[in-house]
């Protein structure tokens, strides 16, 4: 055997720790618990504390996850209402949509008779057209 120097201390301690870990892994559950009790450890309390602390962390992460989901939903709703906030007048909306549909017959395929749709439908259609880029954001504002 060689005489150790401080240069390989880390390796030496690592080898000792590894040997101890191997030995602990080789013990049966009963032996592990018996040794711990020999050392005066309240193993039941230790296990309880471990589990409850970790579960508190997980519950906290889940709460944060829920808060994050709520925040994202609120942001998304806020963005949507912010996008639709500066709408032009209903008359301008109708005129602009009809212009767009006239210029793009493909868009009119699913469009019903303009006289039968409600004002809310016009506004929703406006928002959808703005969102898809069929109508530019500022169209009809001036």
């Amino acid at each position: 055997m060689t005489h150790p120097t401080s240069k390989d201390t880390r390796a030496k301690v690592g080898r000792i720790a590894e040997a101890f870990e191997t030995d602990v892994d080789a013990l049966t559950d009963e032996q592990v618990l018996a040794e711990a009790r020999e050392d005066g450890l309240d193993t039941a309390k230790l296990a309880r504390d471990f589990r409850s602390n970790a579960m508190t962390l997980i519950a906290e992460a889940k709460r944060q996850k829920l808060a994050l989901a709520r925040q994202r939903l609120a942001e998304s709703q806020q963005n949507r209402s912010a996008r639709s906030a500066p709408r032009p007048s209903l008359e301008k909306i109708k005129k602009r949509i009809q212009e767009v549909l006239g210029a793009n017959p493909g868009l009119a395929v699913a469009f019903r008779d303009g006289r039968s749709i409600s004002d809310d439908d016009w506004l929703t259609l406006w928002d959808d057209f703005v969102e898809t880029g069929a109508i530019k954001d500022q169209d009809g504002l001036n």
Binding site: F20, V24, K65
Partner: protein
């Protein structure tokens, strides 16, 4: 408080949290005690409360996804590996926070001043070399304590020296005349001694 990265995918977090929850619920009393016993040797001696803090840190980092738990890796193996890695990082940062001055790190007899000054010209830079040096000094102190605890117990001293060097049981039996029973008994005595010596210690 879990540090939540902004880009966290909610579905992924849910998946990890659920996996962790199941794994922790499935841990038996013996599993937890075993984890404590093994972790005690990670940094040369920490109390069970510190092991718990280390365990919680490993859980927190898994939840944050700064540590990835591979799908096929058993929880026990994963969490212990993560704790080991965190303990190593904490040991280094603890030394860094303590602002070790060069004067605090006098050269040891074994190395001589030449080695000491050479370390200050380490290509990694003086700070890192000093941190490394302080960490080694701590490990050396733990090792010395273990040796002095068993001073005079020939078999344990021999087994300790063998473990340090990576000398196998076969060599001790064949070349040093130890019986297998004597070896196993000395090794258990050493581990149980380390259990007691290191228990409740806090390594800076």
């Amino acid at each position: 408080m879990i540090r939540q990265p902004e880009h966290t995918d909610i579905a992924l977090l849910d998946d990890v949290a659920t996996r962790l929850e199941k794994a922790i619920c499935a841990l038996t009393e013996a599993d937890i005690v075993r984890l404590c016993k093994k972790a005690r040797f990670l940094v040369g001696g920490i109390s069970d409360n510190d092991v718990m803090a280390l365990f919680n840190e490993a859980v927190a980092r898994t939840l944050e996804r700064t540590r990835q738990w591979p799908p096929n890796l058993p929880f026990g193996a994963y969490i212990f590996g993560t704790m080991r890695s965190i303990a190593h990082g904490q040991r280094i940062s603890a030394h860094a926070i303590n602002e070790i001055s060069e004067c605090d790190l006098a050269p040891t007899d074994q190395e001589g001043s030449e080695g000491y000054f050479a370390s200050l010209h380490d290509p990694r830079g003086t700070d890192e070399a000093l941190i490394e040096k302080a960490e080694l000094a701590t490990l050396e102190a733990h090792l010395d304590e273990l040796k002095s605890h068993f001073a005079g117990d020939d078999n344990v001293e021999l087994v300790l020296a063998a473990l340090e060097d990576g000398t196998t049981r076969r060599v001790l039996v064949e070349e040093f005349g130890m019986s297998v029973t004597e070896y196993e008994s000395a090794r258990k005595k050493l581990r149980r001694g380390a259990d007691v010596i290191f228990r409740g210690r806090r390594t800076k």
